[in-house]
């Protein structure tokens, strides 16, 4: 789509797998996210998913990378803002059995009707029908690679 005809895109909600890849300095995923940002694609970073990625990596470099994501012009952190959202998160955890950080991703995607950008499509497909509205998934993968290769994408 050209710059002149672009309309406001539906935001993509980044899940723990994507944020963890960025925190681990996966060049391919990081480049992809920067390219999406450069195209003006809105990106949502659920706060609990950011926490999970930081917890996984436990390094200053990883936290810098996660903080860097927040600096992107098209990126926005989705906080757990108030009791209403906390109760909603608890309901999603109860219905899906997901970890709190994954459930926060699902809650944000479900509330805003946004697709989840993920490296773990299969996991999300299992939970796609757990909520009132189906979750929509966009999986990061290289179609040029054999399926089942779960190694780094760089």
């Amino acid at each position: 789509m050209s710059e002149g005809t672009r309309t406001v895109s539906t935001p993509y909600v980044l899940d723990v797998s994507v944020l963890t890849a960025v925190a681990r300095a996966d060049a391919g995923v990081t480049s992809l996210i920067l390219d999406l940002d450069a195209r003006g694609q809105p990106l949502v970073l659920p706060a609990l998913a950011v926490a999970a990625a930081s917890l996984d990596a436990r390094s200053e470099d990883a936290d810098d990378a996660l903080r860097g994501l927040e600096q992107l012009g098209s990126a926005e952190v989705a906080p757990l803002r108030d009791a209403e959202q906390a109760v909603r998160l608890a309901a999603v955890i109860a219905r899906t059995g997901l970890d709190p950080w994954d459930a926060h991703v699902a809650a944000v995607a479900d509330t805003a009707i946004c697709p989840i950008l993920t490296l773990a499509g299969e996991k999300w497909r299992e939970h796609s029908a757990d909520l009132d509205e189906p979750l929509h998934i966009i999986e990061i993968a290289d179609p040029g690679e054999a399926r089942g290769d779960s190694g780094p994408i760089a």
């Binding site: 060049a27 480049s31 470099d61 860097g68 929509h136 993968a141």
Partner: protein
Amino acid sequence: MSDRKDRLTITVDPHLSAYAEQLVKEGKAPSVSAVFNDALAEKARRDRRALDRLRETAAQADPAKVSRMMAHIDAQAAALPKR
């Protein structure tokens, strides 16, 4: 740091204001304004470093592979129901 300064009015937490004044009183900062100027400069430096780190990582990617992944994303996005 520039010699030219803009004047602005800000509100801050009382304990931070007290800390800035303490630094001035102890001779560790020339003024309260300088304390907040330095703090903001440090945040700007940290934010730049974070973005630079992402760009350095991304520069190591295989552009052809990233293009294929982007096309795959676009194809999936195009197939989603309209909001």
